[in-house]
């Protein structure tokens, strides 16, 4: 009982304070690669603190949707953060079928981000919402096929059970299925978090933005919530990858916690390297990438059935 209390507390602390560090790591890697000194690792925290102290400006077109949009998004992301396993093998909230609740809570958050963008009546933001909606709809099959790879061998649609039953002894070349899931989920991660090659977080031209353009009109505490929320989303999807790549003990332990944090930083470094070495795709090619991700995951699932695992 005591142990699970500590475990949940650690989960909550990681959820609250760790995500913004990942953004710092990515930016640091990118500035290294570009030969710059780069902002502090903790720049994300400074930004959020600064924004939380500001007032607000709202467009006269907007309604309560614009004001509550970032809050609903953050609430949905936070609760899906309670479902996803972080430092141990299960989150504080777990039940059969929690995998689906996780995925659909992310969609709820997205719905309100897009609705808030449309509330401004700006064509830029409408354009961003349209792109975001299209890309994430096409990312869903890849996500669910990857989740199926995770869940089908365990006979359970729950993160806790599925991760506990991952066959670590036969992981890797002997059991390529999970590699397919890692690749597909990796592409989903880059898409959902508006990273290169789908979206460029550094772009300054509204016409080429996807995610950034939807939040142009937000400011002050609302923007702080959005910044923290997007860092949180990055952490959530990263944690799925980490759990697929590293044998983190399902009962919480200090070693497991450190492995998890290290794994997340490692993936952030990889994202930084991808962003430094690649250009983004043309918008018209993004659907191909996403359908490709779904196909990769489907092949992985095919392997699973071919081997007679389920």
């Amino acid at each position: 009982m005591m142990q699970s209390l500590v475990q949940n507390l650690v989960h909550l602390l990681v959820l609250l304070f760790f995500p913004l560090l990942l953004l710092g790591v990515i930016n640091r890697v990118k500035s290294w690669a570009a030969g710059r000194k780069g902002p502090s690792l903790f720049q994300g925290y400074y930004d959020v603190l600064k924004l939380l102290q500001k007032g607000a400006v709202y467009s006269y077109t907007t309604t309560w949707i614009f004001r509550t949009g970032p809050l609903v998004t953050l609430a949905a992301l936070f609760v899906s953060g309670l479902i996803v396993p972080l430092t141990s093998g299960s989150g504080p909230l777990h039940f059969a079928g929690d995998v689906l609740a996780f995925a659909y809570l992310l969609a709820l958050g997205r719905f309100f981000t897009m609705a808030a963008a449309l509330d401004t009546g700006s064509s830029f933001e409408g354009m961003g919402a349209s792109r975001e909606a299209g890309f994430s709809a096409l990312a869903e099959p890849a996500t669910f096929l990857s989740l199926a790879i995770l869940c089908v061998p365990a006979h359970s649609a729950s993160f806790a059970t599925a991760l506990a039953k991952l066959p670590w002894e036969s992981w890797g070349p002997a059991h390529p299925t999970f590699l397919f899931a890692v690749v597909a989920l990796g592409i989903v991660l880059l898409t959902e978090n508006a990273r290169i090659p789908v979206d460029d977080p550094n772009t300054h031209l509204e016409l080429t933005m996807v995610h950034e353009v939807m939040i142009l009109d937000h400011g002050g505490p609302d923007l702080a919530f959005i910044l923290y929320g997007s860092a949180l989303k990055l952490l959530l999807l990263t944690s799925l990858l980490v759990h697929l790549l590293l044998p983190i003990p399902s009962e919480g332990s200090a070693v497991g916690g450190l492995m998890f944090l290290g794994g997340c930083v490692g993936i952030a470094v990889v994202i930084g390297i991808i962003e430094s070495t690649m250009a983004r795709l043309r918008l018209r090619s993004v659907p191909q990438l996403l359908i490709g991700a779904a196909v990769i995951a489907a092949i992985g699932l095919g392997f699973l059935f071919y081997r007679g695992e389920p």
Partner: protein, 652 residues
């Protein structure tokens, strides 16, 4: 007249829903047999778990919509006669209830016709518009073509069973082995009932009729009547013996195709009601996926899978009834307030119609299967079925059940896109037309039914145990009727359902905490109001907003083979361009590629027959003479071939 009709319908629906609910609570009800003077069949009605559930859904949707109907028709009072609307609505509800209750094929078909015909008169309510007349004609033709198939189906069943009573028919399947020609009968039922349900490619009447009908009628047709197509299919399946794997595969395939087609076509629509109509096709597809999984459970000998599949499908019937009626009623309120049909001519309505806007948002979230609303619960159950079906055994059937996962996921993603678009373009931003600018919230009589439906969506989403409890009798009744073993996974069921409640409640609590935090942070700080960021351009007009067409363009372009479009484009020319325009009209794939060519071919054949119709009385007299002569020859031939078979009537 209108008042009497509404009050009577509402009281009847409330009482009926109460009885159906009670019967769902207490267990199987009993039947009633009465003799009647018609040849063939008896007046036999009965209530089992399956009927009670569908009856409950019918009365719920119809009762709530009746109130809205009163408010809706009040606007037309004095301008025209409302007698037909006042008579046909209760007739339609009665027809639907009798369809569900009937335990005799003849009674069933009579009720089916009453339902179809009365709804035809309701669809043609605004018959002064040519488009409405065309839509109701298509509806009438489609209903009757499907009814012909149903006549054939029941005639074959009755011949095999030796009677029209459902108890007799049910004996057919109880022999333990599948009926001869069961698959043909299944396909016949699928086409006949699938037309009513609106399965692809039998749906073509649906996107015409729903938008043409008054919205409170569309709400009932989409929320309840289309489900009776599925009820009929299920009822006939119970006569055919234990389900074969091929049926499950067919239902899964049709469900997936209907779902994807429906939602992609919905995405391309500009008219709000037409969009909601296409989304019905998607949801029927989702229900079919659930039913298919349930039947697959029989083939895979996985009773838990059957449980998830059937419960998910039945619960989605109820949930879809609530959310789809809600959306239709909201669309109707927008129509009343603005007179506009097209999303591109709305905008900014949330500010002017706060109730309708918030309720449309509720319905949109629910139908996009987002937690914590009801649509999520039923799709979640179907997902769990798909997971259960993919684990446990290896083979093509379980792989098929795994493929349900990405299909549902894509449907979910595209629904989010569709309903963000509808809500965002229609209700947010700036009004695009003067009519939208001057919109006013509708009156309390129209608001009340919408609020009731919205509350239903929220409560069933937050407390899924209630919904699952309501369907559990129906699930087991369906299982035993279909001879499919259904296992209640009681050990594992409670926790996840409570888990959903906890997840939903936590989301709400976190949201409230964040609202409080934000208010706290902003207290005493300057809050300014200014124009939307226009990238330095300060002369933006409402017409420059992203429109529904532009919002969905990338995806519609990607799926252009599924939604053929008619595009008129005049590019801007010269240094000072004038009158550039872009006009896009989505067409229906099945209509364009399948039905229209078929009708064209049919017309060629019928053109020959047309020569018979000369309009000259002499020719017709010749026809009569020829017919009589032929009959005489035939009769003589028969009597001479079979000696002793005399006494043929008509032989002098």
């Amino acid at each position: 007249m209108l008042l009497v009709s509404t009050v009577a319908t509402f009281i009847a629906c409330a009482a009926g829903a109460g009885v159906a609910g009670l019967s769902l609570w207490r267990g199987d009800g009993s039947g009633l047999v009465a003799l009647w003077s018609l040849p063939l069949g008896n007046f036999h009605i009965g209530l089992d778990g399956l009927s009670s559930f569908f009856l409950f859904c019918v009365f719920l949707v119809a009762g709530v919509s009746a109130i809205y109907g009163a408010g809706y028709l009040r606007h037309e009072m004095g301008q025209r006669s409302l007698r037909s609307a006042a008579v046909c609505y209760p007739l339609m509800v009665g027809g639907m209830a009798t369809v569900v209750l009937a335990r005799d094929a003849v009674l069933f078909l009579i009720a089916w016709e009453v339902m179809s015909l009365s709804s035809f008169f309701l669809v043609s309510h605004d018959h002064s518009h040519a488009q409405v007349r065309r839509a109701s004609f298509i509806y009438l033709v489609a209903s009757h073509l499907s009814a012909v198939l149903l006549f054939v189906l029941f005639a074959q069943l009755a011949t095999a069973a030796g009677g029209f009573d459902f108890d007799l028919l049910a004996q057919l399947g109880r022999t333990g082995q599948p009926m001869p020609a069961a698959t043909q009968l299944f396909l016949l039922a699928l086409v006949g009932f699938g037309t009513k349900a609106g399965l692809f490619p039998l749906h073509i009447w649906l996107p015409e009729a729903y938008p043409a009908a008054p919205s409170y009628v569309s709400a009932v047709m989409s929320g309840a009547m289309s489900k009776l197509g599925l009820y009929g299919l299920l009822r006939v399946l119970t006569f055919l013996g234990p389900p074969e794997p091929m049926w499950a595969v067919t239902l899964l395939g049709l469900g997936a195709i209907s779902g994807l087609f429906g939602i992609i076509a919905a995405l391309a629509q500009h008219e709000l009601k037409r969009m909601i109509a296409y989304s019905s096709i998607e949801n029927i597809g989702v229900i079919c996926l659930g039913l298919g999984l349930g039947l697959l459970g029989h083939s895979l000998q996985n009773p838990v899978l059957s449980y998830w599949g059937f419960t998910g499908a039945l619960l989605h019937v109820l949930h879809h009834g609530l959310m789809k009626s809600l959306l239709f009623l909201c669309a109707s309120s927008v129509r009343i307030a603005t007179g506009e049909r097209s999303l591109d001519r709305m905008g900014g309505l949330l500010r002017r119609m706060p109730w309708t806007g918030a309720l449309f948002l509720t319905g949109g979230l629910a139908i996009s299967a987002l937690p914590p609303l009801c649509g999520f619960v039923s799709e979640w159950l179907i997902y769990l079925g798909a997971f259960a079906g993919s684990s446990g055994s290896v083979g093509p059937l379980s792989l098929l059940s795994t493929l349900v996962l990405p299909t549902l996921a894509l449907l979910g993603g595209l629904s989010v896109l569709t309903f963000v678009r509808a809500f965002g373009i229609g209700f947010l931003g700036q009004p695009r037309t003067p009519a939208a600018e001057q919109a006013r919230e509708v009156g309390p009589l129209l608001r009340l039914p919408m609020v009731v439906l919205g509350l239903g969506c929220a409560l069933l989403g937050l407390f899924p145990l209630a919904g699952v409890g309501l369907t559990s009798k129906a699930t087991f009744s369906l299982g035993s009727l279909l001879q499919v073993a259904v296992l209640w996974p009681s050990r594992v069921l409670w926790r996840p359902l409570v888990g959903i409640t906890v997840t939903g409640a936590t989301t709400v609590v976190v949201l409230l905490a964040l609202i409080w935090l934000r208010g706290r942070l902003l207290r005493g700080r300057p809050i300014e109001v200014g124009p939307t960021w226009g990238c330095g351009y300060s002369r933006g007009s409402p017409r420059m907003q992203y429109s529904a067409t532009s919002f969905s363009e990338p995806m519609v372009e990607l799926f252009s083979s599924i939604v053929p479009r008619e595009v008129h484009y005049k590019a801007p020319e010269g240094l000072f361009p004038r009158d550039a325009r872009f006009d896009e009209r989505p067409h229906d794939l099945a209509d364009e590629r399948l039905v229209h060519p078929m009708v064209e071919r049919g017309n060629v054949i019928i053109r020959f027959l047309r020569r018979l119709q000369q309009g000259s009385i002499h020719t017709y007299l010749v026809y009569i003479l020829v017919t009589l002569l032929l009959l005489l020859v035939w009769q003589l031939g028969v009597t001479s071939a079979v000696p002793g078979a005399s006494g043929a009537p008509g032989a002098p």
